[in-house]
């Protein structure tokens, strides 16, 4: 240690075992909601006693795409939009791993939308966490597939006129077996949802509505990060089991949160094993992942 280096604090950060402390400070802005989601995720892993060596985090590109780089787990920072198919390959090669995609709305619902819907359709046994801050933040705040109508972004300077995706509806209609939405204010509930999603067999999806005070709030004159949290407090409504059709998010309108889907369905591998077993009989060895060194 250098003589002028600050002394190591006497108390360890409680998440030290789960974070790459050698990469801290992170790149996220003060009041960004991504760190909150990461904290909730780390808590969910601990509370559910999930063997950490078995967890792989896969991210795409963007602010949330940097999550993989901060988690002290097997972690993959892939290309823009492609975290989901990378995770699909990783899971299918080694189904004993718990594969989690942690990425943003631009990455998952924009450029990666096709992978998202097909992976939900196939019910591949992975968890997808989408931090939705309503725009492309890493590139400076451009309009996204999730930007509420009339919101101002750098590429919708006169207000957004496109209809955004309702992500829980998209996930549910494509076949996800677990779908929940929470805001960055709902730390306890978000943590519980992550735990449930991690333990769910099949394609589980959690949307986290997160503040971006640097770009979204500033361009739309919504105040500070604290103001956004107050907005979530005053305007989010918990409605478990709500019809996913009712979950659209309008500009500065009510945000309905809760657990919307929690069902059982055969996964991709269950269905494949059943199909091949029926067709090939004894000639088929149940696939449990390809053997490797």
């Amino acid at each position: 240690m250098r003589a002028d280096a600050p002394a190591k604090p006497a108390i360890e950060h409680p998440m030290e075992s789960l974070l790459r402390m050698d990469r801290i400070p992170h790149i996220w802005c003060p009041t960004c909601g991504i760190g909150t989601a990461v904290t909730a995720f780390a808590s969910a892993l601990e509370e559910n006693e999930i063997p950490l060596d078995s967890v792989s985090v896969v991210s795409g590109i963007g602010c949330t795409g940097r999550v993989a780089g901060y988690m002290k787990l097997d972690s993959y920072h892939t290309t823009h939009g492609r975290a989901v198919p990378f995770a699909v390959g990783l899971h299918l090669a080694k189904p004993s791993l718990k594969v989690v995609v942690f990425s943003g709305d631009g990455d998952l619902a924009g450029i990666g939308g096709n992978h998202f819907i097909h992976t939900a359709r196939r019910n591949v046994d992975i968890t997808v966490i989408c931090v939705n801050n309503f725009l492309y933040a890493m590139t400076g705040g451009q309009v996204a597939a999730t930007t509420p109508v009339s919101a101002n972004t750098s590429t919708s300077p006169y207000g957004n006129f496109e209809q955004p995706f309702n992500l829980p509806l998209l996930a549910q209609s494509c076949g996800a077996v677990y779908v929940a939405r929470w805001t960055a204010l709902h730390i306890r509930r978000m943590t519980k949802a992550f735990g449930e999603a991690l333990n769910k067999k099949g394609f589980s999806f959690v949307e986290v509505i997160a503040p971006c005070s640097t770009l979204y709030a500033r361009r739309n004159r919504l105040g500070t990060g604290l103001d956004l949290m107050k907005f979530y407090h005053d305007n989010s409504e918990i409605r478990h089991g709500a019809d996913p059709n009712d979950l659209n998010i309008g500009f500065q309108e009510k945000i309905i949160c809760g657990k919307f889907v929690d069902i059982e369905k055969p996964t991709f591998l269950d269905s494949m094993n059943e199909c091949y077993g029926k067709s090939l009989g004894e000639k088929y060895e149940i696939y449990e992942g390809a053997a490797h060194a």
Partner: protein, 385 residues
């Protein structure tokens, strides 16, 4: 190590090049295929999915080529030998994540059964127009390894070799075949498993506490972590250091990109592979690869009958290009004739290496068929003047 007998269909078969490639992959130990249908490559995927459930393998038809290339990379990181195949526009769509594979140093095999282009072009007819795309199609600086079989037998043999090279150098390897070889049915002899040498993954032997994902020895090739075993590694498509952590500056870029390039360049002698015939004393040499090397044969016979001293060089590995050998040849022959089913791609490499010391004559064909041997013969005659 020897091949797993489970995947080896030992015996003599009468199959096409695409099926032979699928058999080569299974023999090499490939157990994951992320496919997306596109003519004229689809039979590779079809053959693989028929066979996979019998050998402990898995096939998934992905939603698009970006998906299939990434699923292949993910599966390879999961520890399984993985592949995909494509043609034409699908190759363009895979280029981005072929680059991710190079950056993360991910062993896998990507087969391009070339058809006529650009765009949708000639889906059912042959071409060799993607040779430079294979070399330069993803963004940034890098080196590639690409092989070009000229028969179904070589489709089988070279696919095993492609997997071995991909494991040895930890990078995606390209099989640049074409519609003719893909759909040509010939005898393919598959040896017994003991007769097939396969290279296993270079997994690290270090414990997690001592392991760095991109630390290299003199081989310049890093050792892979075992996923799910406590290595807690991070890998990134961003420019990174030995730890795999992003470092966004010119020094880290220089160190990483030079190593990625050098691990191929400095091992070019091990990787380059070509076949020569009648080179000694030749006035003219025909350089060819893939299906074109078959079409060259009648032209060479015509030239021999005319008394032209003609030799041949056939590229088996097309990238890296055998620069040293072509430089040598250029100093001893009058001309090098390069027939290819494009309007001049590999000929640019020949010209670069010949550097004016001998004539280089392109025999171009825009695609949709193969050359009339007569056109190649005319070029040989001109070169012999």
């Amino acid at each position: 190590m020897k091949a797993d007998p489970k995947g080896v269909l030992t015996g003599a078969h009468y199959i096409d090049g695409n099926y032979a490639i699928a058999e080569g992959a299974l023999a090499a130990g490939c157990r994951f295929f992320g496919g997306y249908p596109i003519t004229p490559s689809t039979e590779i995927a079809e053959r693989f999915v028929q066979r996979a459930p019998h050998v402990g393998g898995l096939f998934i038809q992905m939603e698009d080529e970006m998906g299939s290339m990434n699923a292949v990379l993910g599966a390879s990181w999961g520890g399984v030998k993985s592949m995909t195949c494509t043609s034409g526009p699908g190759f363009s769509l895979m280029m981005e994540n072929f680059g991710l594979g190079l950056m993360l140093e991910t062993p896998c095999v990507l087969v391009n059964v070339q058809r006529g282009g650009p765009s949708t072009g000639l889906p059912t007819l042959p071409g060799q127009g993607d040779m430079m795309q294979a070399r330069w199609g993803s963004h940034g600086d890098y080196e590639v390894i690409a092989l070009a079989p000229d028969s179904p037998q070589e489709g089988f043999d070279l696919t095993i070799h492609a997997f071995n090279l991909s494991e040895r150098y930890r990078m995606p390897v390209l099989m640049m075949t074409d519609e003719c070889v893909g759909h040509m049915t010939e005898k393919v002899v598959i040896p017994s498993a003991e007769g097939i040498e396969v290279e296993p993954r270079r997994f690290t032997k270090k414990p997690p506490s001592e392991f760095l994902p991109y630390e290299v020895d003199e081989s310049l090739v890093p050792y892979a972590p075992i996923p799910g075993e406590g290595y807690r590694f991070h890998v990134s498509g961003l420019t990174h250091d030995e730890q795999g952590y992003p470092v966004i500056n010119a020094e880290a870029q220089d160190k990483l990109v030079r190593r990625l390039v050098d691990k191929v360049k400095k091992n070019a002698a091990d990787i380059c592979k070509y076949e020569e015939k009648d080179i000694d004393g030749a006035d003219v040499v025909v350089l060819s690869y893939g299906i074109t090397s078959r079409v060259v044969q009648p032209a060479v016979e015509m030239a021999k009958k005319k008394g032209i001293k003609i030799g041949q060089i056939r590229l088996i590995v097309v990238w890296p290009f055998p620069e040293e050998r072509i430089r040598e040849l250029a100093g001893s022959v009058k001309g090098i004739v390069v027939p290819e089913i494009n309007l001049g791609q590999m000929v640019l490499e020949v010209e670069r290496c010949a550097a004016g010391r001998c004539a280089t004559i392109l025999v171009a064909h825009a695609g949709g068929g193969v050359h009339d041997p007569e056109t190649i013969f005319q070029a040989i005659k001109e070169a012999a003047k």
